[in-house]
């Protein structure tokens, strides 16, 4: 928190602490945060994306493609009960086997990408639009607005996130929109803090001062001068934020509180469906295949996101 709105040392320290908290969520990394390569990594490494990055990107592109075009791809009907016998192990016909209702686990896992990626994508976009706007405004105008926004962010961060999420999804209609919005709201505060911090840095720069001297209005300065600069660090963190959102959706689904309906197949839902002790023992594949695909997807998001963050050197920009 920086209650007086000035970029004091104290404010800076507290901001870092807040962000450090969110490093636990792997959304934002502060300047003092550790780097995967550590101090040993040099500029050249940082400026190269590497093979791993491209592998991750390929995986994500494939998943996104599957999510978008699943109905047109030659998958089995994922809601078809009795596609084969119940709990059958993987075979040539059903690559990932079948679940308790004899549905094709491979097809369901592929369709599962739809909800996960849709919720993840929407949530992070919402967080960036709302959080980004609030953060930029707070960082640019400072003063009371900054105090109010900063306080609101801090309150949001103090509220146990998953509790807020289940509070909303347990009582409202559990549509794709509600679930996405819920997770989007959770993304507002961390994204907003980042935007505010970046804005604070740029608002002091010469080109902003120059624009102001030339008589540019606030609106114009924000849109033309600040936004493009602030969007870069925020954009670099998109994939990392999406990873968090995908996991959050999975947690909700695991608690039975994500998007409802037989068509709404989600990885979290599939995992909990196969996670009964007896199923886990006798039909391990029902839970483990979605676990594996979800893990690889989150890993790819994290890995690619982390490389992008390093590539754009966001840690320098963050403060």
């Amino acid at each position: 928190m920086n209650p007086d709105g000035r970029p004091s040392r104290r404010g800076r320290a507290s901001r870092q602490r807040l962000l450090r908290r969110f490093r636990v969520f792997r959304l934002v990394r502060s300047s003092k945060g550790p780097e995967p390569g550590g101090p040993g990594e040099d500029e050249a490494v940082r400026r190269r994306l590497g093979v791993g990055f491209w592998l991750a990107v390929i995986w994500l592109v494939v998943m996104a493609f599957i999510a978008l075009f699943a109905p047109m791809l030659p998958f089995a009907d994922p809601t078809k009960v009795g596609y084969s016998g119940p709990r059958e192990p993987p075979s040539a016909g059903a690559w990932f086997g079948t679940d308790a209702l004899g549905r094709d686990v491979f097809s369901r896992t592929m369709y599962g990408a739809r909800i996960s990626l849709a919720v993840g994508g929407f949530a992070i976009v919402f967080g960036m639009v709302v959080g980004g706007a609030l953060g930029i405004l707070a960082g640019y105008f400072r003063g009371r607005l900054d105090q109010a926004v900063g306080f609101a962010f801090f309150v949001l961060l103090s509220f146990p996130a998953l509790v807020l999420a289940i509070l909303i999804t347990a009582t409202l209609e559990r549509s794709l929109l509600v679930v996405s919005l819920t997770i989007g709201i959770l993304a507002v505060a961390p994204v907003g803090l980042l935007a505010r911090a970046s804005t604070l840095v740029y608002a002091e720069r010469e080109f902003v001062a120059a624009a102001r001297v030339l008589g540019a209005r606030n609106g114009r300065i924000i849109v033309r001068e600040l936004l493009p600069n602030v969007v870069i660090p925020m954009g670099a963190l998109t994939l990392l934020g999406m990873a968090v959102a995908v996991v959050a959706e999975g947690s909700l689904a695991f608690l039975g509180l994500s998007v409802a309906g037989d068509e709404a197949i989600s990885w979290g839902k599939m995992i909990v469906d196969g996670a009964g002790l007896r199923d886990l023992q006798n039909a391990t594949h029902v839970a483990m295949f979605p676990v594996a695909v979800m893990f690889v997807t989150v890993l790819a998001l994290n890995f690619a996101g982390d490389r992008i963050r390093q590539y754009f050197d966001v840690k320098e920009l963050a403060f």
């Binding site: 308790a100 039975g256 309906g261 007896r278």
Partner: protein, 590 residues
């Protein structure tokens, strides 16, 4: 592992656990039955002028039953005759849910609550091994000629756990409090007038006036309504609701400690009023609420528990497969079914109801959800029961018959259809992995003819939507009556209203007349005739899709004896495993 346990479709969503509603049933073939020896020593001293006329058994002869006592793997099929009972030990029991409280006058009891409450409260009446009511805590019941006024005589010398003697005042206070409770009284609304229902005649006699002739009224006192509290304690509990967790009864066990969601411990009542004729063996009963009964079954199989009570298919399978564990399964309990709301479109049209019924996938349900642990249901009665009408069959798995009906309906009501399919909602309780699975299965079968929108709402709120009629189709569990008179509540026209316990909102005055007649008479043949006719009427109304008869399975370690074969204070052998409400009073460990 599931989020809300392995809740059965609507086990917790049913309204007030009605003692009437689930008067069901017993597993007659428990290996422990030889344990009648001890009860035989008790002379049936108080036959009671009001004990029921012998109506004969309400179940078919034993050899015709499908009730099973499955021995655990590795043990012989025939259990050896009981050795002499041993005293002492702790009985550890798992139930599938926690009770909000154990005060029968304030908390609505589900099965798990009954398992904890019966050892603490002797009910005023109970069932004998044939399914007829018998006096239990009460000494006798008598009624006037048209069975509208019932007089109940209490036993002398019954003492509560706090040492005070039980009198008619306590009975009047308790039953009045129960009928004043909006939820507990819900299921008695049509039959019992709250205001001047019960009056004290003398210290040991009360009189009850029933709104309708009711030849078997004491059945209502076999459950929660028949559990008596000290009147002074009732006053205290009204002021301090935390007392609901530690009620004072008169049964063979007293509450010792209770931590919600963890364990409830009962200890033997040293001054039990009937200790001379109903010996109590174990020192302590510990009841663990375990929402995932698969975990409970696993723990039972390794000996961490002595008894587990469940309807969960997988838990039942595990218990059947475990060495050292036997199961006592009661298949004649509640029926699992889908209710169709005939009170609003689209299902106010019988063609839509028929189409839904024909397209339903009962075979898949039984195989994939129940996994073979529960038999298919055709009517509200298990084939073992004399009421069962063998000519009534549940029509499902014939989608070819649904198509023309839907087409005809949609031609008449295009506003309720889109793309040639009828629009509907399917309600079910959650969050629950199993319920989602059930809905997915149902929708898959229906979606050729119906646009189904699944509505998963919280168990606690589901009942709200259902009684208010804000649903099209809902998954439910109910009936399971050994004596069907009480089922009238769920079927009759009078139950339809703002709050409707006739969930299907289907009114048939002819059916009502038959049910009223049945309630008032003792002629078993005529009653059977009536109820067989009613099953046909229910079938023809297409308001319920019966899927299965619930299997209430009690898994017990081999060392746990006399789960069945217990006797009443008068020495009459009792029903066992009454829809999971197992009496633990006379159990012993060896």
């Amino acid at each position: 592992m599931s989020t809300a346990g392995t809740a059965e479709p609507s086990a917790q969503a049913e309204p007030a656990a009605s003692p009437e509603r689930s008067d069901s049933d017993v597993s007659a073939a428990d290996g422990d039955r030889a344990g009648g020896a001890e009860t035989g020593a008790v002379s049936p001293d108080v036959a009671g002028e009001g004990s029921p006329e012998d109506e004969g058994s309400l179940v078919a002869p034993l050899d015709a039953t499908t009730t099973v006592a499955v021995q655990g793997a590795g043990t012989g099929v025939e259990a050896p005759a009981d050795p002499l009972p041993l005293a002492g030990g702790t009985l550890r029991v798992a139930v599938d849910g926690e009770a909000d409280g154990l005060n029968p006058a304030a908390n609505n009891f589900a099965v798990s609550a009954y398992v904890m409450a019966y050892p603490m409260f002797d009910p005023l009446a109970y069932f004998d091994a044939e399914g007829n009511w018998i006096p239990y805590l009460a000494e006798s019941f008598t009624s006037n000629d048209d069975a509208t006024v019932w007089r109940m005589r209490l036993r002398e010398g019954v003492r509560f756990h706090d040492g005070t003697e039980m009198t008619a005042d306590d009975v009047v206070a308790t039953i009045s409090a129960q009928l004043a409770d909006p939820v507990i009284s819900l299921v008695y609304r049509n039959t019992i007038e709250a205001g001047d229902f019960i009056t004290k005649i003398d210290d040991l006699t009360v009189e009850m006036r029933v709104a309708r002739p009711s030849a078997r009224f004491p059945l209502a006192l076999t459950g929660q309504l028949g559990m008596v509290l000290p009147s002074e304690w009732l006053e205290l509990a009204r002021e301090d609701p935390t007392l609901n967790q530690k009620p004072v009864g008169q049964g063979p066990f007293m509450i010792s400690s209770r931590v919600q969601d963890v364990a409830t411990t009962l200890v033997r009542n040293p001054d039990y009023w009937a200790a001379d004729r109903m010996p109590v063996y174990v020192d302590r009963i510990e009841v663990y609420p375990i929402t995932d009964m698969v975990i409970a079954a696993e723990r039972l199989s390794v000996g961490d528990l002595d008894l587990a009570i469940t309807t969960n298919a997988e838990a039942t399978l595990i218990m059947r497969e475990s060495a050292g564990v036997r199961t006592i399964e009661n298949l004649r309990s509640d029926e699992g079914f889908a209710v169709i709301n005939s009170g609003r479109p689209p299902f106010d049209d019988i063609r839509a109801r028929q189409a839904l019924t024909f397209a339903a996938d009962r075979d898949g349900y039984l195989e994939l959800i129940r996994q073979g642990t529960s038999p298919p249901a055709d009517t509200m009665f298990h084939p073992d029961l004399i009421w069962h009408n063998p000519d009534v069959k549940q029509e499902t798995n014939m989608p070819e018959r649904a198509g023309p009906l839907v087409a005809a309906y949609c031609a008449d009501h295009p506003e309720n259809c889109s793309a040639g399919r009828i629009n509907m909602e399917l309600h079910f309780g959650g969050p629950s992995v199993e319920n989602v699975r059930i809905a997915d299965l149902q929708i898959d079968a229906w979606e050729e003819f119906f646009n189904v929108t699944p509505v998963e709402i919280l168990q606690d709120k589901l009942i709200n939507e259902v009684v208010l009629g804000n649903y099209d189709v809902v998954n439910w569990r109910q009936f399971g009556t050994i004596d069907p008179d009480s089922a009238a509540l769920w079927l009759e026209c009078d139950s339809i209203g703002f709050i409707s316990l006739n969930f299907a909102r289907y009114c048939d005055p002819a059916r009502d007349a038959l049910m009223l007649e049945s309630r008032a008479i003792d002629d078993l043949d005529r009653r059977v005739e009536i109820w067989r006719r009613i099953q046909e009427m229910i079938r023809d109304s297409y308001t319920y899709i019966f899927y299965y008869h619930t299997n209430w399975a009690v898994g017990a370690r081999d060392g746990v004896h006399r789960i069945c074969g217990q006797a009443s204070p008068d020495g009459t052998e009792l029903w066992c495993n009454n829809s999971g409400r197992v009496l633990l009073n006379g159990v012993w460990l060896g």
